[in-house]
Amino acid sequence: MKKILTIGKYTLKENISNKVFNGILYFGVLSIFFTTLLDEVALYEGGRVIRDSGLFFTEFLIMLIIVYISSTYVIKAVTEKSIYLVLTKAVTKSKYIMGINLGIIYSVFCNVLVMGGILGIILYIQGEFDWWYIRALFFIGLKLSILSSLGIFFSIISDSAVTSTIFTLFTYILGHGVMEIKAISEKLTGTVFQWILDLLYIILPKFNLLNYKDHLITTDINYLLIIGYIIVYITCVITATNIVFQRKRL
């Protein structure tokens, strides 16, 4: 466990000092500041517009950072041979995978904290800051944690950073449309497409459950069920990543 935590800690440190990571983060902070300009055009609804667009920028830009980091991390470590330096220090492949998963999840929440914190201050000044805002941020963090695990999985099964990035991005997009996939599947009964769509519905992450916009207006949410789903989903992805990684020729 100690080694997993160590790898997690230093993966976070490495990410924080990464120039691309920081570049997108600065851009995100700037974007959030620019949302305050919307106050001028949104009559009587300035606070809400700032909150919604600010949350959109927070999720979208952190998603870009996480897709970039997670879907290239292992590929880079293998091509640059830095992975050998870790695996020859009494670190098993499974500990390595769990460690980098943890490190990228730390990075997700670190970003959410920075960008969400700045937006939070702006919302507080606007009088729009409430408990739902914190929950929305937490849900963004959970959604992107799932995405980061999937990014690592794709970077293990693929040898190309481009392919794994595309897979991760598509999963992010499709994960938001699982209900639509189910609706289409119900209309295609008895065909091969139904089978494929049903399979997609099962394996894709249900990002619709974590859609922060819904939770800003809904009150009846079973948090335990949602968090349970996320834990089970991430565990399944990490297990699959582990199985593939054990067989991967380094």
Partner: protein, 255 residues
Amino acid sequence: MKKIISVKDISLDYKERDIFKKIMGSNGSIGIEDISFDVEKGKIFSIIGLNGSGKTSTLKCILGLMKPDKGEIEVFGKKKLEGTDFEKVGYLPEISYYPKSMKLIDLMRYYGELYNISKGDLDKKIDIILTKLDLISRKNDRLEKFSKGMVQKVGIAQAILNDPKLLFLDEPMSGLDPLAREMVIEIILELKSKGTTIFFNTHILEDVANIADKVAIINKGRLVEILDMEKIALKQDDFLLKDYFIKTLSELRVD
């Protein structure tokens, strides 16, 4: 003398492993074939050979980073290095990139923590090693500011951080200037005097001749000969490893 490493008839065929290469009949990487040797405790064992001759593949098989298709390997009397065995091992890969945005001190602490070195000891150890390698003044610098030779020294520093009982060095002199090479040789000899077994691959034959106890010549994945440098020195005063190596390889080409 106690054996630390025992390699028996190991073979590794890259073509067999890569379906694409198998279909296309490509012979990009030869792999290794029926290699056997023993490394005794506290000795310096070196493998020399041309590029792509199988030096790194042999080393990776011993470290357990690659599984040979056949043959047996024993390290510390065990079939496979695993778990805490690695805490007794140091490894410098042939080419390794470190996270450029990280500070040297953070990188060293990272590896030290993975070796389970206690926090109190770790910083002291890092300072001693970085002083030895003349990197102490750069301890708080990011690695992006380091030259190739300095990065190689970082590699050596992380490899000896845990006072290894068995040290694997893959091309340790690569990219180093003559002074730094001398420094690395001193470190290797100091570790040897403390009982560390050292296994290293290199192209730079002058260094091998000066410090290795045994030298294995490898060509196209096959072991050609193992030279006992002590015995040779007793018999032949003017023995030049470089000349011998070139002669041996030339004869093999003619054959």
